[in-house]
């Protein structure tokens, strides 16, 4: 595999030299820096519309502060309709017709991977915002791709921090049956068992994404008589699962550890049925009062008359991360940009973060806490911020996971 990508790069080097030339020429002017942004706006609007608000807000802030190196930022945004093949075509259009200087975006893991593969081939920088898959920075990691959001591994590892403290030994898992669900279960059980050899996973449910048969799943989980449940479902599946679980008493007397459930996108639809005491990763937007976040929240609410979601934070941070990376690069060639992003530090509403030179993963973390019910709505309580850097595997292990790292 390594060999294939090497020869591909060698072969494309000649072609891209020609492509890069006009970009070099334009770098001298004061024309705006163009970011080609692609996301699944029509396919997953609940996440991507707050995300769009986020990057629009950040764009205003960055440009009001004079842009980057005297040049304004401009975002040209496209909808990939949830299809990686369309994302790749649109990326081509953005590069050629709109002459963008770099690519950004993506929500779905497959869109992120497709864009990353494309960026390697065309030698264009791609900054992935939301895709969670580990492959993006590890197995398929490459020079021109950086990723902002904590990966599936990081999210699972953060949850393990609390899960190890539970007395429970008999665990069951429920996860949507596709790559995200499968790796989320794999990492969680591996990391938990490594620190708690007495733990065993006695049953697993794999509902099809968007097709959960929640009553039957709850029944099947209960019949395994678990002490703790690890949940990876989200969205409509989660709502369905929680309602059936509540009615059937599945969660009573059991610990539940749940991935991403504290994010407003997934917590809010649960409404007054939000179970209390679940250990979750998420975003306590209402109670996070650090100066950075308070300012962000106020500006966001002022502009959009709505509270920020997880996607808003990702969109907002993405633009700041890009501005930081470009600011550190000596010029606008892909190679200069690539080294500019390596180690680039940037501010986010969650606090400072940077792109690790080792695997191009940002150190942005997430909040670990518990769910609770307040005024008929689900909130996160007892939360703390866990920096992404603190739960990463050792560098040696990362080098093994990322064939191109060096």
């Amino acid at each position: 595999m390594n060999k294939i990508s090497l020869s591909r790069r060698a072969l494309l080097a000649a072609g891209t030299a020609a492509l890069a030339a006009p970009r070099l020429a334009r770098a001298d002017t004061n024309a705006p820096i163009r970011i080609g942004e692609i996301n699944s706006y029509s396919a997953i609007p609940a996440f991507t519309l707050p995300y769009r608000n986020g990057w629009q807000l950040a764009l205003e802030h960055v440009n009001a502060a004079g842009g980057v190196g005297g040049r304004k930022l401009e975002v040209i945004s496209r909808d990939d309709a949830g299809k990686p093949q369309d994302a790749v075509r649109l990326a081509g259009e953005l590069i050629e017709s709109d002459k963008v200087d770099l690519l950004a975006g993506g929500f779905l893991s497959n869109v992120g991977l497709a864009l990353s593969d494309f960026s390697a081939q065309k030698q264009v920088i791609y900054i992935a915002g939301e895709p969670l898959t580990d492959a993006l920075v590890w197995q398929n990691g490459q020079k021109f791709c950086y990723r902002l959001r904590p990966s599936t591994y990081v999210q699972a590892a953060i949850l393990v921090e609390e899960a190890v403290k539970l007395p429970a030994k008999r665990w069951v898992s429920v996860a949507p049956n596709y790559e995200y669900g499968q790796s989320a279960v794999k990492w969680f059980s591996e990391l938990l068992k490594a620190r708690r050899p007495d733990v065993e996973f006695v049953a697993a449910q794999w509902p099809a994404l968007g097709h959960i048969d929640a009553g039957a799943v709850a029944e099947a989980l209960a019949s395994a008589k678990p002490e703790a449940i690890y949940n990876v479902t989200f969205g409509p599946d989660l709502t369905n699962f929680v309602r059936q679980g509540n009615t059937r008493g599945l969660f009573e007397g059991r610990s539940v550890v749940s991935l991403l459930t504290g994010e407003p996108e997934y917590l809010d639809p649960l409404g007054d049925e939000t179970p209390s005491g679940w250990i979750v990763t998420g975003y306590p937007w209402a109670s996070l009062d650090t100066p950075a976040h308070a300012a962000f929240r106020a500006a966001y609410q002022k502009k959009f008359n709505d509270y920020p979601r997880m996607g808003s934070v990702v969109g907002y941070s993405l633009i700041h991360a890009i501005a930081a990376g470009i600011g550190r690069a000596g010029g606008m060639t892909p190679d200069q940009l690539a080294s500019g992003f390596a180690g680039a530090a940037f501010e986010t509403p969650f606090g400072p973060a940077l792109f690790r030179p080792l695997d191009h993963q940002s150190t942005l973390g997430t909040f670990l806490g518990k769910t609770a019910l307040k005024d008929g709505k689900g909130v996160m309580v007892d939360w703390r911020y866990v920096d992404g850097a603190s739960v990463m595997p050792p560098d040696e292990a990362v080098r093994k996971l990322r064939p191109g790292a060096g």
Partner: protein, 616 residues
């Protein structure tokens, strides 16, 4: 392992699932039985039911009475919407071949997605459950939702009510008569328009009921239209199209299988449903309680004379080909990438048209062959480290061979049953690609499927795609003009006649099925190298529908239809996707306008204009 209490709980859970399936599917089967409309928008009506129900019930007192009133009001509202849909759209296309109504309903699906998002916003809407909806009963130590018991009780109640309406009322008898013999009822002077409108209203009301009853357990969300419509189709087909008792039996079968299947094969629940459908169709080609379809397939009676292309068209085609071959000298890499996609879409559409037009075998799952071709190429690269020519050879071979095996079951069926068996196969293939992560990489796909050096640039690959897609498309056309293709068409026109003159119809259809799959596989292989990656989305229902849209938009009856349809559809889609965030609304509206303006498709419409100008 599984005790008696456990068994009872699973049984009840399965019954509740079955009830939910039945409410939606009963409406679909009633509509199909009478109007013969393959109503793809039935899931959208269910979604509308859930959203309307949420809006109404949230405003009513949180009592059982309030819930019941809200449910009834939603059903009335949906009946009105259904009647409006029938009067405003479907009534105008009854004369068109039947599949064009499917096209129209797909336009409705697209538009509804944007309209619902505009009206209700993007967040999932979960109905606040008052205590009576959260209540449960104790069964041997375990808890079972009381609401699910109500749903289970409603199942026989709704069934009985429908059965009484259909057997005991004059209207119901007319509906049943129309289900058996539409022409006869018309001949008896019954106002068919009123009958159809009322049936559609009833079907929509049942969809609404299904939508509302999902609310207490789940939420109203923007994805539920497609998830419900595929389930409902499966139930209707397994039960037998148009059969209400069949729909009830199939709901029970599938609901119970799902509930128990989760215990036994938790990873395969998605495929399980489609495996059940495939098995039922193989054993009973008309579903559990269905009857053999009457005269005329899903394509109705389009039997226009097929002529060789007129000379003008041949010259036009040649000119277009020369222009296409010169394009790399004039266009930039992005335009060439779009051109490459269009060429591949053309071959894909031509391959579907091959079996669907002249073959009379409509496929709802043609993307399966495209996807198998694409994955074959990707496996060639990754597992065999084979060079591109091998990958491109394996793509049609794999698709063609698998189709030849699977086709033996397909060609025994006809009409919508055949189409649904292809859908079942495609969904199983998709489930494997999506869920068997170790083999296929799951939705992360397989990356790094890049073309050989010689054609790695956009120009080189464009020329390669042009050569193979044009050769494939022209090859399919040549086969259609040859005795083989004529025999295929003969089997479609009149199977009795074909067999009476000794034509091997079944063998020809099976070969055509495999050839069509091989051509789609080649398109998939090309696409894999063009994109450098393969994903399960290549096999998704949406991609199969794309192919159907291209063929139907272009026109089934003419040989140039799929070519025009592919170019028009991909062009329209690309432009709208980049131009507006409401691209689904715009695309759906464009499809509906085209269906109304040119029910013969673009090529058919053009041909008509041409003939009008030059009387024969």
């Amino acid at each position: 392992m599984v005790g008696g209490g456990q068994l009872l709980l699973s049984l009840l859970t399965g019954l509740a699932d079955a009830a939910g399936l039945f409410f939606v599917a009963s409406g679909l089967t009633v509509i199909f039985g009478v109007t013969r409309v393959v109503n793809f928008a039935h899931g959208s009506l269910t979604m509308l039911g859930a959203y309307c129900g949420w809006s109404l019930i949230s405003r009513l007192p949180p009592t059982p009475l309030g819930f019941a009133l809200g449910t009834l009001a939603t059903m009335v509202l949906l009946a009105v919407i259904g009647a409006g849909l029938e009067i405003g759209l479907l009534r105008r296309v009854y004369r068109a071949p039947e599949l064009f109504q499917l096209l129209a309903t797909f336009g409705v699906v697209l538009m509804t997605q944007d309209i619902v998002q505009w009206l209700w916003g993007v967040e999932d809407l979960a109905l606040r459950r008052p205590p009576w909806l959260r209540a449960f009963v104790r069964l041997g130590g375990a808890r079972f939702p009381r609401f699910d018991l109500i749903v289970i009780a409603l199942f026989p109640l709704v069934f009985l009510l429908l059965w009484l309406v259909f057997t005991r009322t004059r209207w119901g008898r007319l509906v049943r008569a129309a289900t058996e013999d539409r022409e006869m009822v018309a001949a008896l002077g019954v106002d068919q328009r009123l009958l159809f409108t009322s049936v559609f209203a009833l079907g929509a009301a049942l969809a609404g009921l299904g939508g509302v009853l999902m609310l207490p357990d789940a939420s109203a969300n923007l994805g539920m239209d497609l998830t419900t419509v595929t389930d409902a189709f499966v139930v209707v087909v397994v039960g037998g199209l148009g059969s209400l008792p069949g729909a009830a039996a199939a709901s029970l079968l599938i609901g119970l299988l799902q509930a128990f299947g989760i215990m036994l094969v938790p990873r395969a629940t998605l495929a399980l449903v489609f495996v059940v459908m495939a098995v039922v169709l193989v054993l009973r080609p008309n579903g559990l309680l269905g009857r053999p379809p009457g005269r005329g397939g899903v394509l109705g009676e389009v039997r226009a004379l097929v002529r060789p292309a007129p000379h003008v068209l041949r010259w036009l085609g040649l000119a277009a080909l020369i222009l296409a071959a010169l394009a790399p000298l004039l266009l930039g890499p992005y335009a060439l990438a779009v051109g490459t996609e269009m060429l591949i879409a053309m071959l894909f559409a031509a391959s579907l048209h091959f079996m669907m037009g002249p073959g009379g075998m409509v496929s709802f799952g043609h993307a399966a062959w495209f996807g198998i071709g694409a994955y074959a190429s990707a496996f060639a690269v990754h597992l065999l480290a084979a060079p591109m020519p091998v990958g491109l050879l394996l793509a049609p071979l794999a698709a063609g061979l698998i189709a030849a095996l699977f086709g033996a079951f397909v060609v025994r069926l006809s009409g919508v049953y055949l189409a649904m068996l292809t859908l079942a196969f495609a969904q199983i293939t998709w489930a494997i690609a999506f869920q068997w992560v170790d083999l296929t990489g799951g939705d992360n796909g397989i990356l790094g499927v890049w073309p050989a050096r010689l054609v790695a640039g956009p120009r080189g690959f464009y020329w390669l795609a042009l050569t193979l897609a044009v050769a494939g498309t022209l090859g399919l056309r040549a086969v259609l003009a040859a005795p083989f293709g004529y025999t295929l068409r003969g089997g479609r026109d009149s199977r009795v006649r074909a067999e009476a003159i000794g034509l091997p119809v079944t063998a020809i259809q099976l070969t055509a099925f495999a050839l069509s799959a091989a051509a789609a596989g080649l398109a998939g292989g090309l696409y894999a190298y063009a994109k450098g990656s393969v994903f399960p989305t290549y096999i998704s229902l949406g991609h199969s529908v794309d192919a159907l849209l291209m063929v139907l938009l272009g026109g089934v009856a003419t040989m140039s239809g799929p070519i025009l349809g592919a170019l028009a559809y991909t062009g329209l889609y690309d432009v709208l996707l980049s131009a507006t965030s409401l691209w689904r609304l715009a695309l759906g509206a464009a499809i509906i306008v085209l269906v109304l303006a040119a029910p013969e498709g673009i090529a058919g419409g053009a041909l008509k204009l041409w003939q009008r100008r030059r009387p024969a």
